[in-house]
Every structure is written in structure tokens, then in C-alpha cells.
């Protein structure tokens, strides 16, 4: 039924993943349309992060198929998937701690602007790189931290940088893994505004525990339980789904 969507950005077909004899993902079918904001929710250990790792190439599926804009990326390496326009963030902040904020973003834009492994360009002279890195820096609100080492930023700033690195390469499919984890209320509000602005016109898939964020941002929600999609629908449909209530939401909203 989901395959009837027009312009599918990301499609998972019967994806399985086991670690040794432990199955983590038990046949996930999912199709996410271009421009959709999609949230994946589910209890701890449901396999949300594993699913992200499979889509982004960090792990490879035991069986099944993953299609990015129609192209099979199931067995590709992370960098090859990234070059095809999919970029992800990490639940545990994953930045370049000894590089400055600006350098973090610059490293994240170099490949997409075609500079690859060049050792014959002077990076300071690359205007397009500078402009793009500075644009992202403004977007994530870290201009004032430009030359600070990323490792000494505050937690919320590092989370913003994490998103900045993710979007810097201009990918049109963006995966955010718990972007607001560990944030205060006001920080979460800022993060939601940031996510909304950076995902404008792009396909967004996110794993998130904060239901306020999920219901505020997502066009559609998948509920993952024990490595399977238990339910899929609009926020209203998910809210009204009794199976979901029982398996997941019930325990949190009770």
C-alpha cells in the first residue's frame, strides 16, 4: 500500500537485521515521500537507531532492500550513500572536537562542492566553501562561536553543530537521531525551530522521544516495536490508534 506513493525519497522493503542470532529489525517496510517530515517513535530497544544505521550505511541489512530515490543503496558504504544525497545526525554528539566550529562545517561542505581529496587548492581561497560554511553557521546560530574548538561548546551548541554538519553538504534526505535528547524546554523549542527551517523543502526522517516535538513537526509517524512497524499514519491517526496506546504511548501519557 505504501509503495503507491508518488516520488518516494526513501523506501525500505522487508528489511531484516540480526546481530549474531539476535534479530533487531524484523522485516520493516516503509516508504517516505519526497518533502515529507517523518518521525519514527517507539520504546527503547525497538530498533530505531539500528534502522538509522542501516539506512545510512553504518551497518548492512541481513536481508531486504533499501532504496534511496529509487536507487538500491542496501550494501553501499556510508560515504557513498552520503554522496547520493542522504545525510544523518547522531544521537550521541559526533563532531570534530579539536576543530573550530567553522572548520567543522567547512569539512562537511568540501565533498559536496567537489573538492574531494584535493591537495592543490588552498582551502582559505575557496569562496563557495566559505560562503556555504558561513551560511550554515548563521542558520544554526553559532556565528559568535566561529573559532571556538567544537569540543568546548555547550551541549545545546554541540547539538546545533551536529545538525549543522548534517545539513551542510546539502543532502535532500536528512536523518536526525534524537535531535533534542537531553535538552531543556527552551533549548528544545529552539531546536524545533531550527529543524523546521533546515528541513524546508527536504525529506526529513527523525527518531525522537519528545512527543511534543514529534506531534509538532511530523507529517506522518511510524511506530516501531520489536523491530517491526506497528502502525503508520498522521499524528491524529497515531494518537487515536489503540494498539499504539497500549504498546507505547499509554505507558508515557498515563
Amino acid at each position: 500500500m505504501t509503495t503507491s506513493l508518488q516520488n518516494v525519497a526513501l523506501e525500505l522493503k522487508a528489511v531484516h537485521k540480526s546481530f549474531g542470532r539476535t534479530p533487531i529489525i524484523n522485516g520493516v517496510d516503509l516508504a517516505i515521500a519526497q518533502g515529507e517530515r517523518h518521525a519514527i517513535i517507539g520504546p527503547n530497544g525497538a530498533g530505531k537507531s539500528t534502522l538509522f544505521n542501516l539506512i545510512s550505511g553504518r551497518f548492512h541489512a541481513t536481508s531486504g532492500q533499501i532504496l534511496l530515490k529509487g536507487e538500491d543503496v542496501t550494501v553501499l558504504e556510508p560515504q557513498d550513500i552520503n554522496r547520493r544525497g542522504l545525510s544523518r545526525s547522531f544521537q550521541i554528539t559526533n563532531i570534530f572536537p579539536r576543530l573550530s566550529v567553522y572548520e567543522n562545517l567547512r569539512c562537511a561542505v568540501l565533498w559536496s562542492l567537489g573538492y574531494r581529496y584535493s591537495f592543490w587548492h588552498r582551502v582559505a581561497k575557496l569562496e563557495t566553501v566559505r560562503a556555504r560554511a558561513e551560511e550554515i553557521m548563521r542558520k544554526i546560530g553559532l556565528e559568535k562561536r566561529r573559532d571556538r574548538a567544537a569540543g568546548v561548546l555547550s551541549y545545546a551548541e554541540q547539538r546545533a553543530l551536529e545538525i549543522g554538519i548534517t545539513i551542510a553538504g546539502g543532502a535532500d534526505v536528512i536523518l536526525l537521531d534524537e535531535p533534542t535528547a537531553g535538552m531543556s524546554h527552551s533549548e528544545t523549542a529552539d531546536a524545533v525551530a531550527l529543524i523546521r527551517s533546515v528541513s524546508e523543502g527536504k525529506t526529513l526522517v527523525m527518531v525522537e522521544h519528545d512527543m511534543g516535538v514529534v506531534f509538532g513537526l511530523a507529517d506522518r509517524i511510524s511506530v516501531l516495536v520489536y523491530g517491526k512497524v506497528l502502525a503508520l499514519g498522521t499524528p491524529q491517526e497515531i494518537r487515536g490508534n489503540s494498539a499504539v496506546q497500549e504498546a507505547y504511548l499509554g505507558t508515557e501519557t498515563a
Partner: protein, 419 residues
């Protein structure tokens, strides 16, 4: 931006001036050969730091590329001498570089397949393998004796025969300066910047489109190229290449140079290469126990200044900019005096022990700090031990004095930064 450019031009200009003028100040042949050794070591250490400091690859086998470059150059030089090849000696280091690069392309492919500890282990394995080959293939490596050569070959070009050491020094200095500039420029390229990213977080690099293994491999090849250039200069300077040049000890040596100088800053290995070359030449002519002092120096550096001398210098920069450095001088003088006493006691004890053990060859009494020391008497032992222990106590107290004056400076810097 132009401020940065101006400062860089100034630093490079000063470096060039020092390299040109320093042989005019130190004319002794001992000094000249030490300076030549330093120039070679600088290139070698900087190339090593491309791996360690810039890309986070701890290699135990970097001398492989220096040594193989040197061997290829020795054979090339002999071929020139035999009239089989026409190549100016001046360009020989380039041959070494290409040889280093070629071996880097082959061995580096295997080595950089892994990172972290496996990388270090593979690099060690390859170093052992090449060292073993050096004894198995005497045709290329010359067996125990190595390959001897003569740098005075071909036509002297505008009077440059490279017979006199001063000409060799300027050849080394020229190549050293050129290599320093090119290696610095490398750090400012996309690959150079991504090398830092790989060092910081190889996992994340993959998710911004880069293949971390490829970045490591390319940097490894380029570092091998510069190591080969250093090796070629070594061939010209020493006119002999032996199996020791590819050995693990030589690889450990360049690691020590880079670490002592500081792997976190571009100029760190330059300082380390100069200091270690100096210590090796100077200490070894004073005492046979020099390796012990050298090892101890390395351990103390790693323990108390893991960022090397470069990080110590950078630590003082903010204070220097604000003119606060003079405030540190009194405490440094006191502490330095105490340290000198500790070292005096320590060196006396070490030398006495050494003479006691090696008395047959060295004699039971010797001259130290202008005094005749008899190791069979009790008094010298007692005096040295008391000086050492008391010195340690005083030194520990002076460390607090240094810390207090630093505290004062930090407060001052903060208030100035705030205003």
C-alpha cells in the same frame, strides 16, 4: 586576514634568514655537520607529523620510507658516479622522494587499511619485515656494511661540487626550507583539513562524504614522499646508508622528535628535530650514559608536557602578548636553580654508578663538574644523595611559587579579557 598573511611571511622570512646566517656564526665542522643533521631531521619529523599529529596515525615504521629512499639514492648516486646516469646531485633528494612515495604507495595501502592500534602494529610489522630484508638482500642493502657512496660526482655546477660540508649544509637548508613550506601549505588544502577531521573523528568523516581510509592512505603516501626526500639528503650528507636507517630504532627516533617538539602544532616537530639532534650529538660526546638521560628526558616530557615544547611555548603566548612574562621570570629562576641542583645530584649518582659498574674500562675515579670523584669512597655517594634529595624537596617547594605567579597572571589575563 592580511594580518595572518603578514605574520606568516615574517615567520618564513625570519626562518630563511636564520638558516642562511647560522653557519656564519657556528663555523666549526662539528657545528656544521650538526646543523646539516638538524635540517634532515626537520624534514623527516615534519613528514612523520603528517601521520601522527595531523591524521592521528601512530606509525612505528616511518624510517622505512626514509631508509628506502636513502638506499635508492645511494645506488643512484653510484650510478651517476659510474657515468651510467646524468643527474645533478642537487636533484637527488627528489629521487629519494619518488622512491619513498613508491614504497608508501605499496606498503601504505596495507598499513592504512586499519586505524588506531592495528595501524600501529602493521606499521611495526612492516618495519621489522623491511629490516629483515635489509640483511637478506645484500645486493640492494649492502649487508652489514651498507652501501657507501661518494657525493662528489659529475660536473661541478657553478663551483658546487658538494665536497665541502658548507655546500652540503646549504643544499640541505634549501631543501628543508622548500619542504617546510610545501608541508605547511599541505595543511591548508582540503585533504590537509580532512586529515585533521579523520584524526578527530574518523567515523563522522564517512557521513560527510569522505572515505576515511582513503584520506589516511593519501596522507601516508605524501608523508612517505617527504621522508624519502629526507633520506636522499641523508645519503648526500653521510655518504653511507646502512640497515640501521630502515630500522625500528630510527623509526622510534623520529617519533620521539615529533613528540618532544609537540605533535599538536605544525612547528612542534621542527623544534623537536633540532633539540633531539642537538642532544644526540652533544650528550653523546660528554657521557656514555647519554641514552639514559635522553630516555629520562623523554619520559619527563611525556609526563609533564604531553603537548611537547610547542605547547609550552603556546602556553606562554597570551602572557607574552600582554607583557606579563617578566612577572614569571623570578619564579622560573628560583625553580630553575633548584632543578639544576636536583639534576646535579642525579647526574653525579648516575655517573658514579656507571663508573662503578664499568670501572675496568672507565677507571674508578673521574672528573665531574670540575671535581675529581672517587667512586670507591663513601663521601661522594653521601654528598650526591643528599644534594639530590634536598634538591628535590626545594624544587617541589619552588613549583608552588611558579604556580602562584601563574595564578596571578591568569587572573590578570581574565580581567583584561573582560574589560
Amino acid at each position: 586576514m592580511s594580518g595572518v598573511l603578514f605574520r606568516r611571511l615574517l615567520i618564513w622570512g625570519l626562518t630563511a634568514a636564520v638558516m642562511i646566517l647560522v653557519p656564519l656564526l657556528f663555523k666549526q665542522s662539528f657545528a656544521l655537520s650538526m646543523l646539516s643533521q638538524m635540517g634532515i631531521a626537520i624534514i623527516f619529523a615534519l613528514s612523520y607529523n603528517m601521520l601522527l599529529g595531523q591524521t592521528g596515525m601512530l606509525s612505528f615504521g616511518h624510517a622505512v620510507y626514509y631508509g628506502l629512499g636513502a638506499f635508492v639514492c645511494a645506488h643512484t648516486l653510484n650510478a651517476i658516479g659510474a657515468g651510467k646516469l646524468a643527474l645533478p646531485v642537487m636533484l637527488l633528494p627528489l629521487v629519494g622522494g619518488v622512491a619513498g612515495l613508491a614504497f608508501g604507495i605499496v606498503f601504505g595501502y596495507v598499513t592504512t587499511k586499519r586505524s588506531g592500534t592495528p595501524f600501529a602494529m602493521i606499521s611495526l610489522g612492516i618495519a621489522e619485515m623491511v629490516a629483515a630484508c635489509a640483511l637478506m638482500f645484500p645486493g640492494f642493502f649492502g649487508g652489514e656494511g651498507g652501501i657507501a657512496t661518494n657525493r662528489q660526482v659529475g660536473q661541478a655546477w657553478h663551483g658546487l661540487s658538494f665536497g665541502p660540508q658548507i655546500q652540503v649544509y646549504y643544499l640541505i637548508a634549501g631543501w628543508c626550507f622548500l619542504c617546510m613550506i610545501v608541508m605547511f601549505a599541505f595543511t591548508q588544502t582540503p585533504l590537509g583539513r580532512m586529515a585533521n577531521a579523520v584524526r578527530d573523528n574518523p567515523e563522522r568523516v564517512k557521513f560527510v562524504g569522505y572515505n576515511a581510509t582513503r584520506v589516511r592512505y593519501l596522507v601516508f603516501c605524501i608523508a612517505s614522499f617527504f621522508a624519502g626526500i629526507a633520506g636522499g639528503l641523508g645519503t648526500i650528507n653521510y655518504e653511507i646508508v646502512t640497515a640501521e636507517n630502515v630500522g625500528v630504532i630510527a623509526s622510534g627516533n623520529v617519533l620521539i622528535m615529533s613528540f618532544v617538539g609537540g605533535v599538536g602544532h605544525f612547528f612542534g616537530p621542527v623544534i623537536g628535530a633540532m633539540l633531539v639532534s642537538f642532544l644526540q650529538s652533544a650528550l653523546s660526546s660528554y657521557t656514555q650514559a647519554w641514552l639514559l638521560y635522553f630516555g629520562l628526558f623523554f619520559v619527563v616530557m611525556i609526563l609533564f608536557a604531553p603537548g611537547g615544547i610547542a605547547s609550552l611555548i603556546m602556553l606562554h603566548l597570551p602572557a607574552a602578548r600582554n607583557g606579563l612574562l617578566p612577572r614569571l621570570i623570578p619564579s622560573y629562576l628560583i625553580s630553575g636553580a633548584a632543578l639544576a641542583v636536583v639534576l646535579g645530584g642525579f647526574i653525579t649518582l648516575v655517573e658514579m654508578t656507571y663508573h662503578l659498574e664499568m670501572g675496568e674500562e672507565l677507571g674508578k675515579s673521574f672528573k665531574l663538574f670540575g671535581l675529581i670523584v672517587d667512586v670507591t669512597a663513601v663521601t661522594p655517594w653521601l654528598v650526591a644523595a643528599v644534594v639530590f634529595v634536598a634538591g628535590l624537596g626545594v624544587f617541589a617547594a619552588t613549583v608552588k611559587v611558579v604556580r602562584r605567579s601563574w595564578d596571578g597572571i591568569n587572573v590578570e589575563l581574565q580581567t583584561r579579557g573582560a574589560s
